[in-house]
């Protein structure tokens, strides 16, 4: 498997503090009204208990990115060396096809009439820094790294369960970790990362 950078999400460790959201905007000087990263919250009430779960969401740099496939001018491409999916604003014609094609509604239409989204902090990686969402997260819920390597590594340190590769028709580059004994991995998968979820919606 070629190198594929992506997110490791330690389920249950995201506490909705929004540090990643703000850090992402600040580090990438994202315009007002657009978010490349959000923290989704899901509520459920049963007679037994109230459930409140959170998941940090952004572009998942899919192995088979629907945004790139549909782009009529090849403005969205996947980097061969690390699998990061990027938008070339010079080429983008703002037709917004990618916005509809992405199962997670990630690409955003900017004031400049072009699409924009998370590029895994390419400029930071070039400076030897981690993507800001992962480096700042106070709950240590996020990591960025090679998906294939993680899956080979087996159980992450300190976690209860092993790595669960997120499935989907675009093969998103994210692995989930069961952090605590009562973390319901299946529920997370169902609620947040199913197609047509509100993932990434600002």
């Amino acid at each position: 498997m070629a190198k594929q950078l992506g997110f490791k999400i330690h389920l249950g460790r995201c506490v909705q503090c929004a540090a990643c959201e703000v850090a992402c905007k600040a580090a990438n000087a994202v315009e007002y009204g657009v978010k490349w990263r959000t923290v989704g919250v899901y509520w459920e009430e049963t007679p037994a208990r109230v459930v409140n779960i959170a998941l940090p969401q952004s572009c998942l740099h899919c192995a088979k990115p629907a945004c790139a496939s549909i782009c009529p001018v090849k403005a969205i491409t996947k980097r061969a060396e690390d699998g990061i999916v990027t938008v070339d604003a010079k080429k983008c014609i703002g037709c917004r096809s990618c916005e509809k094609a992405c199962p997670y509604k990630v690409p955003k239409y900017g004031k400049n009439g072009k699409m924009q989204k998370c590029n895994l902090c390419l400029d930071r990686l070039a400076k030897g820094r981690q993507p800001v969402c992962a480096s700042t997260c106070p709950g240590e819920a996020l990591e960025v790294g090679d998906i294939g390597q993680w899956l080979k590594d087996g159980k992450p340190k300190g976690a209860v369960g092993g790595h669960t590769k997120l499935q989907g028709r675009t093969n998103p580059s994210a692995v989930l970790v069961k952090s605590f004994a009562d973390t319901d991995v299946d529920k997370y998968v169902k609620v947040f990362l199913s197609e047509n979820s509100s993932a990434g919606k600002a």
Partner: protein, 807 residues
């Protein structure tokens, strides 16, 4: 500033950062060859400077470490400072948004004097000399005519600069340091007078953790509270959360106890009832180390779980379950938060919790609540940043308003976080002049006397017991941060002289006679501070914006101009800084050689069960008597009894509540209270920062889906919330993480945000200021510790107008 070797700093800190991230080496090694350590330094841009310093975006505890990024002379962002022991390179959203706050259009850039009517908002730019001379002339005149005590200074959240206006008050001869009874001091006081100290939870070793009236996520997510909570969760610790709403920290809990706001005392008393009646207590401890258990047994009989269910809404079965779990799980602790301070039964609730910890055998034992550690500060206690009496250095007694005797100003470094200087203490004669003692006079200390914040405004309005003539607000916004907004605004209109010191416009600045523009902590190179065993030089990231000064510079200069120079380093900031370091036994050269700060070895974990020593702790009162005269846990408090207060914890209804004022319930069927803090804002500030405002764009009210449905309210609707005192306008946040009979909002809303076209909000009608909604009658106060109620009854209706603003 270390201009000469900034490049070196940049290189070194980046390399260090790489090293510290070694814990994630799997990630680090896997990403890309670009990330190899050799590539890191090479990739750093020469024009970008990283300046290690501390974040200045919240308080009261010390800032998290950051590497401030400066490009072309402009503060543009932050990078991690992994060396900082408090936050280990992690930072919250506020920290990342700092440049937007620093360069905000709302910044105050010059001293101002009011030229229009009070409240009108017309100001004229003046110079520093005129600003300072005007204040000096007014204070001298008033001291002569009315006595020094006619000056009151309102305390913001505990900041290190508070020590300097406390010092100013002492030098001037006024005891009126006005502390709002909603934060830490009340808990500290009640714990000290019950247990001899603040019982800090030993979360690292516990098996069962009760998070009670606390927001470990929002109260500084990167500061360690959250780390401790998640580490406990990962270890399999049983977590019980006691609070009205399900916040993210409750989401990780095993048991949620959805207590009604303001009824923690009722729930705590019922827990005592179960523990006592089911004999779940530690008999040996109770016999040997408590005073008055025999009086507690009959006293708690009336506080049955069924009684508490009616009052607090907590099901009786859940009360029994929690009591049994807490009492019978070896290594259990309680992490008691700020919510306790928001009810007139504050002292009772905290005392009941202290007694519960003690009789269950969890006091000063592994995994329990430890004595002699951190915990919330109490007046005169080691955790009180304003405490000068606890300072071991020589101190000067000041006569009532008289000339200050010669005294060696001796800044001390031995106190808890926030302590910057010490030295001046008060005479009994001056303390007796407190305009509205926060704690009864017999319990006031010689080092840190306090008036209750709201009592200052009562004094202005009623002239009783005497008239406050000047109010200074250094970084606090009484129109939105304390209760009784209507009265506060009237008092600000009436008071002779009002001075506001702040970084940006405040909610009541329009009433100020003089406005002092303050530099942010990114614009100054002082003070030296750090969290716990960490000290680092605060470094100037950029030059001050406009013609501003730091709080520290202001008080030192004002002190000197008033003629109190010998207590204010003769007006020399340089001299003050040097003396700060001397007292810490460190030189400037040693400190600046380590730009990331110096981490001293952590204090050794003291022995457990040091009861004889802990229960003999001496207070900061004038008699220096012990907190616990019997040398035992004060279940039955003889000191309180002697001062005319109830010796045993009891239940007291808030001024307006579902069970206390049934006559109001028909018109106002829901209970309203407010959150103290949030993930992106502090108190009354930061709404003007667009990147933060985008996270929480509008003031909201949390409401249960059933409660909302019954009123035709949908997610995001603008609603009108009416109490007997005011009507405010908020947006509905409909979710099931709240009791059906309760609605909750965040306090401190008034600021607009120009970039996002959010208008400034009224302080009273149709604004979003929760503090305008509560009763401020005598029943609103805890009679002993003057904690103020933030509970009332309301009705919520959908606003027929759904536009962003009303009227």
């Amino acid at each position: 500033m270390l201009e000469s070797n900034d490049t070196e700093v940049t290189r070194r800190s980046i390399l260090k950062a790489a090293g510290a991230l070694g814990v994630q080496s799997a990630v680090w090694g896997a990403i890309s060859p670009l990330l190899a350590p050799s590539g890191i330094a090479r990739a750093a841009q020469p024009e970008e400077k990283l300046i290690p310093t501390m974040c200045g975006m919240c308080g009261p505890s010390q800032g998290c470490g950051i590497n401030a990024v400066v490009r072309g002379g402009r503060f543009v962002g932050i990078e991690p400072l992994p060396e900082a022991p408090l936050n280990l390179g992690r930072n919250c959203g506020k920290s990342h948004a700092a440049p937007q706050w620093v360069y905000s259009t709302e910044r105050l850039r010059y001293p101002l004097k009011r030229v229009g009517a009070k409240g009108e908002g017309k100001f004229q730019r003046i110079g520093w000399d005129e600003a300072l001379d005007t204040i000096v002339a007014k204070l001298k005149e008033q001291k002569e005519k009315y006595g020094a005590e006619s000056l009151a200074i309102l305390s913001p959240a505990a900041r290190s600069y508070n020590s300097y206006f406390r010092r100013f008050l002492a030098a001037h001869g006024s005891p009126n340091y006005a502390h709002s009874g909603i934060c830490a001091m009340q808990r500290g006081f009640s714990f000290q007078y019950t247990l001899g100290g603040s019982p800090s939870p030993d979360i690292a070793n516990t098996k069962l953790l009760v998070v009670w009236a606390k927001q470990p996520v929002y109260a500084g997510s990167s500061k360690g509270n959250l780390r401790a909570l998640l580490a406990a969760k990962a270890r399999g610790v049983k977590i019980i959360a006691v609070k009205p709403t399900m916040e993210p920290d409750v989401a990780v809990a095993d048991i949620w106890v959805p207590v009604r706001p303001g009824t923690d005392a009722a729930f705590a008393l019922a827990l005592l009832h179960v523990v006592v009646n089911e004999k779940l207590y530690d008999k040996e401890f109770v016999e040997k180390w408590t005073h008055g258990f025999d009086k507690l047994v009959p006293h708690v009989q009336k506080y049955t779980p069924e009684w508490a269910e009616k009052v607090s809404g907590v099901p009786a079965a859940q009360t029994r379950e929690v009591a049994r779990l807490f009492a019978t799980t070896k290594h259990s602790c309680i992490d008691a938060g700020n919510g306790f301070e928001h009810a007139p039964s504050c002292n009772d609730a905290v005392r009941a919790v202290g007694i519960l910890i003690a009789i269950c055998g969890h006091l000063d034992r592994k995994g329990g609540n430890l004595l002699g550690g951190g915990g919330p500060g109490g007046p005169g206690g080691p955790g009180d940043p304003g405490n000068l009496a606890a300072n071991p250095k020589p101190s000067a007694k000041l006569g009532p308003g008289g000339p200050a005797p010669k005294a060696k100003s001796a800044p001390g470094g031995s106190r808890g976080p926030g302590g910057q200087d010490g030295g001046l203490s008060y005479t009994q004669e001056v303390v007796n002049k407190l305009v509205g003692p926060e704690f009864p006079l017999p319990f006031q200390t010689s080092g840190s006397p306090t008036s209750a914040y709201y009592r200052i405004f009562e004094s202005v309005l009623t002239g009783k017991p005497y008239q406050i003539r000047t109010i200074i607000s250094p970084g606090t916004q009484p129109a939105t941060s304390t209760r009784g907004t209507k009265n506060v605004l009237e008092a600000l209109k009436k008071v002779d002289f009002y001075v506001v010191l702040d970084v940006a416009k405040t909610s009541d600045m329009n009433y100020a006679d003089i406005v002092i523009p303050i530099s942010t902590m990114y614009e100054v190179d002082h003070p030296f501070e750090g969290g716990g065993n960490w000290i680092m030089p605060r470094r100037k990231v950029i030059d001050p914006i406009g013609d501003t000064k730091s709080d520290y510079e202001f008080w030192i200069e004002l002190g000197a101009r008033m003629g109190y120079g010998e207590h204010f380093w003769h007006g020399s900031v340089k001299e003050w800084k040097e003396s700060q370091l001397r007292s810490r036994g460190i030189t400037l050269a040693e400190l600046t050689a380590k730009p990331q700060g110096i981490v001293r070895p952590a204090a050794r974990q003291p022995a457990y069960e040091k009861y004889a020593q802990a229960f003999a702790a001496r207070s900061g009162r004038f008699d220096r008597g012990p907190y616990l005269p019997e040398g035992k846990v004060a279940i039955y408090n003889t000191l309180f009894e002697k001062a005319g207060y109830n010796p045993l914890p009891e239940w007291r209804e808030p001024p307006e509540s579902l069970t206390g004022t049934p006559e109001l319930v028909k018109k106002y069927p829901l209970l309203l209270s407010d959150f103290h803090t949030s993930k992106v804002y502090n108190a009354s500030w930061l709404r003007n920062v667009p990147y933060l405002r985008e996270v929480m764009p509008d003031p909201t009210i949390q409401i249960h889906p059933e409660t909302a449905r019954a009123r035709g309210i949908k997610q995001g609707d603008w609603v009108l919330v009416s109490s007997p005192h005011n009507t405010i306008r908020l947006r509905a946040d409909v979710n099931p993480g709240i009791r059906r009979d309760t609605v909750m909002a965040l306090h401190g809303w008034w600021e607009g945000c120009a970039e996002l076209k959010k208008p400034e909000l009224p302080r009273l009608k149709y604004g979003a200021n929760t503090n305008s909604m509560y009763s401020v009658g005598e029943k609103a106060y805890d009679p002993l510790v003057t904690a103020m109620s933030s509970q009332t009854l309301v009705e919520v209706v959908k606003d027929p107008s759904q536009s962003a603003t009303k009227g």
